[in-house]
Symmetry: C2
Subunit: 384 residues, 2 copies
């Protein structure tokens, strides 16, 4: 399933030898149409990897025939030679499909600053093209993993019977603008590139954009949405946006739960905000407090670390009107101690911190994880 | 020594019973004049603890007779009752000294959100007042420790023979605006309150303000500078600023080295910036990258994590002109791989990361530490 759940898509995932060992490291997703409409959102990091620069050009045309993705190397900070490597990869896919490289998007993930091993990579493209199939979605999702312990896939059926499917990777460097990740979404609905673009921007802004596990923004973030039109269904856009958002939210949740070293999935729910921007700002500030993330790891409902993070923002609120609940217990009321903190049960994996700014009707939820010794160990040893 | 190194100051540090156990937890520093000129800088957190609100009022008058400091409780987020506790503490000091509470500054550090135990605290003020002495500086510095493993003290002699002394506390929550901390600086130079204010703002802006161990800003940050004038020396202001800055830098270094769980002292040196603000912005972004801090802990010269943090800022630079050195080896040149990273020796405790933005003549250095499992353990177990 995953990207091959909708009609009109084939995929493959192979071990090209980019990574050491026998693990799959190259995925190919092909849109057989009849439509090739596509949209994408990319990292806002000013260091954009070569495949991001390339794919942004491809997607600006509104059409994508295929996406080739590799793990085992980010091809970021590799200069003009790295860009040529990306170009050569797209050309190889185009040749295998007898199509144009200008409609082949490329995604890479792995270590920054090193060139990709092009010989095995290009050979892998040929193998992948020969293995493309309607049930290749799982192998493709497996091939894009780095420190991900499991593949992330999702699909939903829309009104009238069209499908939206997707796969994603990402475990560390999940942060600000986009949660750092690669994601390919597919649909057999008949939707134009402009409509896909609008829907994708709104869907990612309330899902992947609100995931912040370690505050680190990557150089390679890419979310692609491809439409084949093969179902013949032309959905209502509002309903289509709901389905795409649901698939994004499902994948975002899978990324969160698999975040490096995490033992808690923390929802920072900000209510009573003067604007949605204020709510996101406050949620993000709290999600980035290492001290709070350590406290939740220790199952300590330390609301002082919540308010001290809220106090660093410029959101509209009065300190003496702020309320904080942890798992439903309002342990901070009016900016001071409230209900008995001993009543808070922090043993479940899911933790909800509710912050009431008492400043307006808006709200937003930002998702993060706890900070653990396992995160430190994983990121002390692994070069990414 | 410490705050009693300059003439005209007495101090004491006692165990009042605010903390559990027999540890010292209350300090008193008294300026016997002839001058009482004083200045201070405070946290920019919008949740300001009661003692911060109180002391800001006191210092606005430009005169401070005494400072009373306690560990074992921050008296932050304690509402009007907490403010009354601070006021009562200042009144108690004033009564013991037969002076005015309007010239008594108060500092508190410890857990947010809980009221202070006023009975032992006020009794402790009386004990401390009875033990004030010219050699009480060390006991005072000991009394303000929380998770600090050692006392932080410093002093320097200025031209003409005047002295500047100081004590500080701070181990976690060292961050943005001010490194989160309490610090009392004293001098027997004859300097007006306005001059002290200007000197203190400049000195802290290049020392404590550039310390960022965990990105968390406290509710209680306070740096006080008191002048007794007892040496009779009226220093040149530029020279005086150099001496005060040297004492601040020394104390900041002691805070850094004692930061919770740290095994590395990392200097992020940003050069070639279009402005000093740009240099500080870039330094701070890098200092807050958990991924980089983990990599340095693992002695991995991962420059990809440096550039991906630089890329999140709005500082003026071109990605393809950025250079990064770790301990003097330029492993990233022109935004791509440079010298052999195997040449980087990361075994020493001190690590220097140099970032050349190639965009102008300005520079700044931000200091941080590595992120370790010990930091996680300490902050999972300790409520602050």
């Amino acid at each position: 399933m995953s990207v091959t759940a909708p009609l009109g898509f084939r995929a493959a995932g192979v071990a090209a030898g980019i990574k050491s060992g026998d693990a799959r490291d190259l995925a190919l997703v092909v849109n057989d149409g009849p439509s090739r409409a596509a949209a994408a959102v990319f990292t806002r990091n000013r260091f954009k990897a070569a495949p991001v620069l390339w794919s942004a050009q491809v997607v600006s045309g509104g059409r994508v025939r295929a996406v080739v993705l590799n793990s085992g190397g980010a091809n970021a900070c590799t200069g003009p030679a790295g860009f040529q490597d990306t170009h050569a990869t797209a050309e190889k896919v185009a040749a295998a499909l007898d199509d144009s490289a200008a409609e082949v998007a490329v995604c890479s993930t792995g270590l920054i600053g090193e060139r990709l091993p092009m010989e095995p990579l290009l050979a892998g493209v040929e193998t992948a093209a020969s293995q493309l199939s309607r049930d290749g979605g799982l192998a493709a999702a497996d091939a894009i993993r780095t420190t991900d312990t499991v593949s992330k896939i999702s699909f939903r059926r829309g009104e009238g019977g069209y499908m939206v499917g997707g796969m994603a990777k990402g475990a560390g460097m999940l942060a600000p603008a986009l949660a750092t990740m690669l994601c390919v979404l597919t649909t057999d609905a008949d939707v134009s590139a402009e409509e896909l673009d609008a829907v994708l921007r709104r869907a990612t802004s309330v899902t992947f954009d609100r995931l912040d596990t370690d505050g680190c923004m990557s150089t390679n973030d890419t979310v692609l949405l491809l439409a084949s039109g093969a179902s013949g269904v032309r959905p209502g856009l509002a309903e289509f946006e709901r389905v795409v958002t649901a698939v994004c939210a499902d994948l975002a949740r899978q990324l969160l739960v698999d975040a490096e070293g995490a033992t808690k999935a923390i929802a920072i729910e900000v209510v009573g905000a003067a604007s949605e921007d204020d709510a996101v700002t406050v949620g993000r500030a709290v999600a980035r407090s290492n001290l709070l993330k350590c406290a939740i790891h220790g199952e300590d409902p330390n609301w002082g670390r919540v308010v001290s993070a809220v106090g660093t923002t410029d959101a509209a609120f009065e300190p003496e009107r702020l309320n904080v609940a942890v798992n439903g217990i309002w342990i901070c009321r009016g900016g001071a101690a409230g209900d008995d903190r001993a009543k808070v049960d922090l043993r479940p994996r899911d933790v909800t911190i509710t912050i009431d700014l008492s400043a307006g009707p808006h709200s937003a939820t930002v998702h993060t994880t706890d900070l653990t010794a396992a995160y430190v160990h994983e990121n002390s040893a692994y070069s990414s």
